[in-house]
């Protein structure tokens, strides 16, 4: 799977991989590091995603999260990641004033935070193993670390939900050691975002929210929460969050963004 980059400058080694897991597709683009160590770290990162899926899948009756919900396991009997996710969920609920919720149809469902967290963790694992540039895309939510090569930042296109195949903007990670880009919307999977107050599909004047922040765990959770809030409340809430920028596409086909997003466009 390793492919040497073809740029003439002394470019770092490149490792690419695509994996179907958690009901979606993850793609890895890893630059630099010692090739054997990178290969091993990539295998570990992929195995980690499958493990997360086993532990946290609400679709599997035998997952720890399902057994926890039925009272067959205590949190202490689960993998330590379960307690960590519980903590992150309650933090997300608190910081979003309840708009992010890990309760769905009366049971604990941490799905809204697990994927972003797992994607971020996979990227950081590769950095820890020596990669100088990491780009992990977990089903359209992207964690970037480092740079892809000399004098070039990672660049992420934000797909335009109203024009299939087109981009609404391009976000650059220039000047950051770590940047995440997460999008929530109705475009592809329909109305899968639930209003925690009603338990029904969120009725919103937005078609997509893209959040740009250092960590994908939060970028993903905030995109979901802001989508349910709607354009006005979502935008002003996102504007209030530190180190967080956002781009919102409204039902009226307008693109709106936080004040600092322009500095991240490239």
């Amino acid at each position: 799977m390793a492919e040497p980059s073809e740029t003439p400058a002394p470019a770092p080694a490149q490792l690419r991989h695509v994996e179907e897991v958690m009901g979606t597709v993850f793609s890895f683009d890893v630059r630099g590091g010692e090739p054997t160590a990178m290969r091993a770290a990539l295998d570990e990162a992929v195995a980690g995603l499958h493990r997360v899926n086993e532990v946290f899948s609400t679709y599997r009756d035998d997952s720890q999260i399902s057994r926890l919900a039925r009272g067959e396991l205590t949190i202490e009997e689960c993998d330590p990641e379960v307690a960590q996710i519980l903590q992150l969920c309650s933090e997300a609920e608190r910081l979003s004033d309840g708009w992010f919720s890990a309760t769905f149809q009366g049971t604990f469902d941490p799905t809204g935070i697990v994927k972003g967290w797992a994607t971020e963790r996979a990227a950081l694992h590769l950095v820890a193993a020596g990669a100088t540039g990491v780009n992990v895309n977990g089903g359209g939510d992207v964690q970037l670390c480092g740079v892809p090569g000399p004098q070039r930042p990672w660049r992420v296109g934000v797909s335009d939900p109203l024009r299939p195949g087109a981009l609404a903007a391009v976000v650059s990670a220039a000047g950051t050691a770590q940047l995440a880009v997460a999008t929530s919307g109705t475009a592809e999977r329909g109305t899968h975002i639930v209003d925690p107050r009603t338990g029904k599909s969120a009725i919103t004047d937005l078609v997509a929210v893209t959040v740009v922040a250092p960590k994908l765990t939060w970028a993903d959770a905030w995109a979901t929460a802001a989508f349910a809030m709607g354009a006005r409340d979502g935008l002003s809430w996102l504007e209030s969050l530190p180190d967080t920028e956002a781009l919102l596409i409204t039902a009226g086909d307008e693109v709106r963004c936080t004040g600092g997003l322009a500095d991240r466009l490239g």
Binding site: N137, T204, E254
Partner: protein, 157 residues
Amino acid sequence: MHALKKNRPLRRIVLTSAATVSGVVLVLSLKPHTAPALASPAPSPSTGAVALPAPSGSASSGPATGTRTATGDAAQTRYGPVQVRVTVKDGRLTDVTAVTYPQSSPRDQRINGYAIPRLGSEALSAQGANIDAVSGATYTSEGYRQSLQSALDSLGR
């Protein structure tokens, strides 16, 4: 290569839009450290959409041929009703148009943040835009196969 290369050109383009777009220029209140005026891009008649609610009968099964349209039920938002019309051609969704959507009051526009122009179509192919990844509404496996991201991955860039 495209319109949003750097911060300053972005602002210049936004201001140019403000100067040239007649009719629907919306002057927004701004933070002191930003450009003095921003404009909402002129809505083009064929665009504008929302994906709520899923129109009934939109599921295309079998080798559907021809062009069909369906208008969804109006969904109530706190800003007013939203209603969309979808066009399906040969089983593929080709257009989503908002036939009804909230017309923001001037007060709403002031707090709706910063409008930016969409990228021009010349910048929109994955190959042309020199991008490494695509962020979009969560990809299902099937959606991924149809997406720009899979094009990027297959290119091995």
